[in-house]
Amino acid sequence: MNWILTILTFLPLVGVVAIALMKQPEDGSGDDNIKYVAIATSAATFVVSLLALFRFDATNPALQMVDRVDWIPSWGISYFLGVDGLSILMVMLTTFISLVAIIGSWSAIKDQLKLYYGFMLLLEAGMLGVFLAQDLFLFYIFWEFTLIPMYFLIGIWGSSRRVYASIKFFLYTMAGSLLMLVAILYMGITNGTFSTPDLIAGREAFAHAQNILFIAFFVAFAIKVPVFPFHSWLPDAHTEAPTAGSIILAGVLLKMGTYAIMRFNLPLFPEASYHYAPLIAVLAIIGIIYGAILSFAQKDMKRLVAYSSISHLGFVVLGIFALNDAGIQGAILQGFNHGISTGALFFVVGLLYERSHTRVMAEYGGVWRVMPVFSAMSLIIVLSSMGLPGLNGFVGEFTILLGSIGAESLAPRPWIYTAFATTGVILAAIYLLWFFQRIFMGPPVTETVKGLAPLKRREMGILIAFLLFIFWIGVAPAGYFHLMDSTVSALVNDISRAALALTP
């Protein structure tokens, strides 16, 4: 019996209960205690995830630390948690980003603290559940569950158009998952089980309907990623969300989409994956270019970063549908990288916003003169997002593009896809440097900029934590690839064998 994943998933809920039971005096004297409890809970969760990482055996491609109990046996539904090379990095990312986001909200959130930190922890539990659940029914519950805290986080603590954004976010993602629910029920009832490994073993049973099922799953996940043309909710949600919300949204929630594609779409419907790979790759590449160009035109810095996410996630989706080892491993790592880099970018933007209360880039300029250390750190973060070699972004992008040019799934001319996708590298330089120039360079003109307060120690600590990952992955990513190598290799072998069996 293995409890560690269950503890990991539900530990944040302990914090939720504790916060619910705490008193919040009117004079704000209890505020700090609430924050400490929230931080302690997420820190403890992070530690548990580290324990799980140490117990993780990277050479074993199968699910590990499995915790499985029958739940509704008559329908074949079970409580089934497990972790493998596809998800271990995502779990680490979730606990890390949640911790950072919670610490980062220290001074940004001033009202309804109990509710706020409660939702943050709920969200953390939900996200961990998504990455750990190996039963489709359980997965679906966690998947939908994450919507609720996020909805409130945007809707209550967001900026001016928060209600519009939160409803758009909720409806968009909800609409997608309904299709998936139908598909899940169909498969579950056909096979009498909802557990993913069992379904994969018995995928012949629904092979005749796999194109439709694939689309139902893919649309749900593509909305989350978001893949062009389902991206419309993202800029609004990002722009209106509070800083920590944006960090989690970009850092983790979007990765749920790409992770789920790898976890479910590829092994459950291998032939369909091959069949639709070129189409999806085209969408991904449109996303890369489109997101980058739009990002360049933005006047609002949060929107700029939001659109850049669409571009970056395009790379991830392209990597997945290269359907080979390099592509998928690059996609996983790039998912992690994007969490770090874009999370950090949102944090940078949040710091500026907290100080000057505007997101319009034209009102900045010359921040470098006022906050030199912060600016230097921001520069590194921007460069990491740009994919400068030696920093994290490059390793992921490089591996993805390397995979895509040799992708059998994109035959006969995979290099065309790669060539178009690689233009994203040029465009990233265009919009990110323009962003950097507008905010940090030039003489400090406005009084607001001249009066920007220097970095606090807490903020500095968070930035340094981000930078450590940025350099670490950039210079020595071998360990990260090692974590996922065996699982991805098994997955790739499995789906290519299945797809080969189909072709005469």
Binding site: A297, A326, L388, L433, A476
Partner: protein, 737 residues
């Protein structure tokens, strides 16, 4: 333990310097300006000097090792076992990389020393040296890496430093109030990225073709596959090797045009002059821009295989020939553009583009040694020229400073620009050291015997004359153009009379700045010895002389790192090789052209312009119009605004108004809302509610009837019970009956 294991130090030393300055340097400067500048500046400089010493050690080790390459692994980098991908941080110490290291760290040290004086008193003194060390760090990674991927790290890294240093004075606004320096830096980075796009894709192709990105296995594999006529198979494709290599070499050429500022991507380099002058000298003349040439020389085997196979690009031209043509045309046109420049640094910038064209053309023609030779001598004399121009600018600024404080009433300050040659003149009397050293550099650039530039340019011309006559003609014309603009610049800056009060009051720069000039001038004079035909063992052998003691000429030294040469000897490849030698005809011709160009400049510009606002003597000739070739305008006036407009349209019209506002909000949301309204007002209130409410009404009416029976009188109920009982009784009796 051998001296090769010191190699990582060349990377770690600049890294240590930059970390020190990034973490502490600015605090020390803030605390005490005088001491702080000395500490930060010298820490940075000594680290580069240290790297130079290590490079010399490596050089000596290679010499004692018989020139054979040595690999120094450091640690794992990207390793993906299932994809068979493995690239590690490994240094390749061979004669080519050590040559580059010596140039980079040697010239780098001198420019660091110069910068100590030049940057004195700058607001961001420590930041400057952080960037400078960072540049040396990346440049040394670029030249010492053992794989294309590692080279690419340096390749992009130096691009980053270029960006940072061009936009170093990002807080300065131009006349229109725009952050022009920052924009120039951004332009350089983006243009470079366009080139990097090519290098990236070339690397992908190389990996899928050869399964590795390390130089040596790629070259060995390429030769083996070429000899076996093997097909390249990946991603559902099956292609002949020369086709793949044509693509690879073409993409590399794209990278080269970005990094080494060739047509069509050269436009960033003139703008890059916005950075401080030491930056122009180090990055945009001596080292970074030559990275493209290094790439070409490194990839010699790939180019030679393409040349050998006869694979043509679109059936027109083979990629090595294309490289040669791009180089030659750039050499010619950039030289032409230099005619019309009035900014002292812009002249040098276009001159750099032009000289890089010579190197690229040489590499494209297969004259790899000559390309390297010109790279080295150019590093000497162009660094010298840039530093000299920095000294001139420094002197002009001080002269201007003096008049605006010393004398009042000089109304001619409006529009004064310390870099504009039209305001100079007669400086040879004011700045003796600068003048003499500049003259040496300029004559070397023009290709005057016996300075370094003469020898290296002559090698290139000789090779071109032997193998590709059209390119020879273009390059010869470019060489003459070079001499012409050099002469024009010398006359405008140092000769004639001062045309502005600032020039009258200019005086010599401090020793910290002039000493590096003297050293570089010495190198410029002697640089030709590196590869003088008479000192080469091979040449001596050919001439039947005793070879001993002559083995250090560049040709022998670099050859082991250019596998194509060896393969040519083995007969695998037919390299259009020209062993170093002197053809008196070519040498005489190139001298004639150089002297002719200088003489022409003298004839046209003697004593001109008389005043700073006199129009240029060539400004009414067609040459002038040719020379302001509109590629830059195409870029700045059409491409950039076009992209901006497209981005704005996509963002606000398409994605904003159409996709989000119209499609989502109007069409989807409003349709849904009106459907919901219809449902709630019509369907629901009259349909569903009608049913529900109707049944309730029926029940209410019925129950109203029934409730009449409830009188509340016990007696009534009792009667009912009684009647009921009687009724039951009657029923049973009848039923029984």
């Amino acid at each position: 333990m051998n001296t090769f294991s010191l190699a990582p130090l060349i990377i770690y030393l600049p890294l240590a310097g930059l970390l020190f300055n990034a973490l502490f340097g600015w605090r020390i400067v803030d605390a005490d300006r005088e001491v702080g500048e000395r500490v930060t500046g010298w820490v940075a400089t000594l680290m580069v000097v240290g790297a130079f010493i290590v490079s010399v050690t490596l050089f000596l080790s290679l010499v004692s090792n018989g020139f054979s390459a040595w690999f120094v692994p450091m640690f794992k980098w990207i390793v993906i076992p299932s994809a068979n991908f493995e690239v590690n941080w490994t240094l390749q110490i061979d004669t080519l990389s050590v040559t580059m290291m010596l140039v980079v760290s040697g010239v780098g040290s001198l420019i660091h020393i110069y910068a100590l004086g030049y940057m004195k008193g700058d607001m961001d003194y420590s930041r400057f040296f952080v960037y400078f060390n960072l540049f040396i760090f990346f440049m040394l990674i670029l030249v010492s890496g053992s794989s294309y991927l590692m080279m690419f790290v340096g390749w992009e890294g130096v691009g980053l430093c270029s960006y940072l240093l061009i936009s170093f004075w990002w807080y300065r606004l131009d006349k229109e109030g725009k952050t022009a320096n920052a924009t120039a830096g951004r332009k350089a980075m983006v243009m470079n990225r366009i080139g990097d796009f090519g290098v990236l894709i070339a690397m992908f192709l190389l990996f899928w073709t050869f399964g590795t990105l390390d130089y040596k296995p790629i070259f060995d594999g390429a030769v083996k596959m070429f000899e076996a006529n093997q097909m390249v198979q990946f991603g559902g494709m099956s292609l002949p090797l020369p086709t793949v290599l044509t693509a690879v070499t073409l993409l590399f050429l794209l990278g080269v045009t970005g990094k080494s500022a060739q047509i069509p991507l050269y436009t960033w380099l003139p703008d890059a002059m916005a950075g401080p002058t030491p930056v122009s000298a180090l990055i945009h003349a001596a080292t970074m821009v030559t990275a493209g040439v290094y790439l070409l020389v490194r990839s010699d085997v790939l180019y030679e295989i393409v040349r050998q196979s006869g694979a043509l690009l679109l059936g027109l031209i083979s990629t090595p020939d294309l490289v040669a043509w791009v180089g030659a045309l750039t050499a010619f046109f950039a030289g032409l553009i230099a005619f019309s420049q009035n900014d002292i640094k812009k002249v040098l910038a276009y001159s750099t583009v032009s000289q890089l064209g010579f190197m690229v053309a040489a590499a494209g023609m297969g004259a790899y040694v000559a390309a390297m030779f010109h790279l080295i001598t150019h590093a000497f004399f162009k660094a010298l020229l840039f530093l000299g121009s920095g000294s001139v600018i420094h002197g002009m600024e001080h002269g201007h400073h003096e008049i605006s404080h010393g004398h009042d009433g000089h109304g001619e300050d409006d529009g004064f620009d310390p870099q504009d040659m039209r305001y100079m003149g007669g400086l040879r009397h004011k700045m003796r050291v600068t003048y003499v050293t500049y003259l040496i550099g300029a004559l070397a650039l023009a290709g005057i015997f016996p300075l370094a530039g003469f020898w290296s340019k002559d090698e290139i011309l000789l090779h071109a004359q032997t193998h590709q006559t059209p390119i020879f003609i273009i390059l010869a014309l470019a060489a003459m153009g070079t001499a012409f603009y050099v002469g024009r610049q010398l006359i405008m800056v140092f000769f004639g009379q001062p045309r502005h009060a600032a020039a009258e009051h200019a005086h010599e720069s401090p020793a910290l700045m002039t000493r590096p000039l003297v050293v570089l001038a010495g190198l410029t004079v002697l640089g030709g010895l590196l590869n003088v035909p008479y000192l080469s063992a091979a040449a001596a052998e050919r001439a039947g002389m005793h070879a001993k003691g002559f083995w250090l000429a560049l040709e022998q030294w670099v050859a082991p790192s250019i596998p194509a040469l060896e393969l040519a000897e083995e007969g695998v490849l037919h390299l259009p090789h020209t062993p170093i030698s002197v053809s008196y005809a070519v040498a005489g011709l190139s001298m004639l052209l150089a002297v002719g160009g200088l003489a022409l400049a003298y004839l046209i510009y003697r004593g001109r312009p008389k005043t700073y606002d006199e129009p240029d003597r060539l400004s009414r000739t067609p040459i002038w119009w040719w020379s302001i070739l509109p590629l830059n305008s195409l870029h700045m006036k059409i491409l950039v605004p076009g992209f901006n407009r497209m981005a704005a349209w996509l963002a606000f019209k398409f994605d904003g108004e159409f996709w989000s506002d119209f499609l989502h909000d109007r069409v989807l949301r409003d349709t849904f809302v009106s459907f919901a309204d219809f449902s709630s007002d019509v369907l629901d209130s009259q349909g569903v509610d009608g049913l529900v409410n109707g049944s309730a009404t029926v029940v209410r009416r019925l129950s109203g009837l029934l409730r009449l029976t409830q009188t509340g009188y016990v007696r009534t109920y009792a009667l009912a019970v009684f009647l009921g009982a009687v009724g039951l009784l009657v029923y049973f009796l009848l039923a029984a009956g």
